[in-house]
């Protein structure tokens, strides 16, 4: 499975439609403090099925919807889609090995997932990634300040590492 493109619209500070093309190898993301780098990473985790508002650094999940700025009013909808290639044949709604996974949230209404335009359940999204040793909480998605967590954690809390690699 290859991650090829992430598109955000109305998610956190990315109120305008934004596209990040993801190519093989090392892609650097740079910019001043507070400009939106970690928001981009939150977006990737969110579309992959993150269920905790705290992991999204908010109090409730609606905090991921653009909340307005000095110059613009708040929005009520946010949507992110992730394009994947070379997905396993048996993956849900896969067409020719390509999938576009989307997640859309509306203020006070919760969020829905779809794959290639067809509604799916959160469970389908989790299964899609579980077989690929990744997911919203994957060990190889290290959030800011998160690198030291594995050191400070108790032995029981580190079990997930083992299960993921198995």
């Amino acid at each position: 499975m290859d991650f090829v493109r992430l598109r955000l619209y109305g998610f956190k500070s990315f109120v305008e439609p934004t596209e990040l093309v993801i190519e093989p190898g090392l892609t650097g993301i740079v910019g001043p403090n507070g400009c939106g780098k970690s928001n981009l990473i939150d977006g990737l985790r969110w579309v992959m099925g993150e269920t905790s508002a705290r992991q999204m650094r908010g109090r409730e999940m609606d905090d991921v919807i653009f909340g307005g700025s000095a110059g613009r009013p708040l929005r009520n909808v946010a949507e992110i889609s992730l394009s994947l290639e070379n997905v396993p044949r048996d993956a849900v709604h896969s067409e020719g090995g390509e999938i576009t996974l989307s997640r859309r949230i509306e203020r006070n209404q919760g969020s829905t997932y779809s794959i290639n335009g067809r509604d799916v359940r959160a469970r389908d999204v989790h299964l899609l990634f579980a077989d690929q040793a990744t997911g919203a909480r994957g060990t190889t998605l290290v959030s800011q300040g998160g690198i030291g967590e594995v050191i400070g954690a108790k032995p029981a809390q580190r079990r997930a590492l083992l299960e993921e690699a198995a």
């Binding site: 499975m1 290859d2 956190k12 500070s13 990315f14 109120v15 305008e16 934004t18 596209e19 993801i22 190519e23 093989p24 190898g25 090392l26 892609t27 650097g28 993301i29 740079v30 910019g31 001043p32 507070g34 400009c35 780098k37 970690s38 928001n39 981009l40 990473i41 990737l44 700025s69 000095a70 110059g71 613009r72 690929q132 040793a133 990744t134 994957g138 060990t139 190889t140 998605l141 290290v142 959030s143 800011q144 998160g146 690198i147 030291g148 967590e149 594995v150 050191i151 400070g152 108790k154 032995p155 029981a156 809390q157 580190r158 079990r159 590492l161 083992l162 299960e163 690699a165 198995a166």
Partner: protein
């Protein structure tokens, strides 16, 4: 079930020991299963000892040494069962220049051999210079993020003027 877990443990442990010794240019580290004989119940303990130092409690390691140890472990998990994507958000922040260079050497080597995609968020000029491509996130309009593809020279300025 149990055999798979124990087999995975052996592979991660081997990778972890090798990567630790590479990043620290010496020393040794390993993982142990604790609190239960059943791999399904046991916890994972980390033993790490930088070169020339005695084995001790992990919490006595410095901020940079802990980050480097955690990077070795994260990459060990990755090598054991390669995920399609790896994201590192400012993991180089506590590192000195020498260790930043060592981590970049490791990332370059891992990506040379595979089609895996890495997204590396950084403020460090050395790390930036080692990336194959750079995206800049700016807020030309306050509060509104914009993504632009940049070359290295532009990125240097981006860092400077904020």
């Amino acid at each position: 079930g149990r055999e798979r877990l124990l087999a995975a443990f052996d592979v991660i442990n081997k990778h972890f020991g090798t990567l630790f010794t590479r990043l620290f240019r010496g020393g040794h580290a390993h993982l142990t299963l604790v609190d239960s004989d059943d791999p399904f119940e046991a916890g994972l303990e980390i033993m790490a000892s930088p070169p020339g130092k005695r084995l001790q409690v992990l919490s006595l390691l410095s901020g940079g040494e802990q980050a480097l140890t955690a990077i070795a472990l994260t990459m060990a998990v990755f090598l054991t069962n390669p995920a399609p994507i790896c994201v590192l958000d400012e993991v180089d922040a506590p590192l000195d220049d020498q260790n930043v260079a060592r981590v970049c050497d490791l990332l370059e080597e891992i990506t040379r051999g595979s089609a895996t995609r890495f997204l590396v968020v950084t403020h460090h000029p050395m790390t930036m210079a080692r990336m194959q491509r750079l995206f800049g996130v700016t807020m030309v309009e306050r509060g509104i993020s914009q993504l632009v593809s940049v070359d290295f020279k532009v990125a240097e300025n981006l860092r400077a003027v904020g």
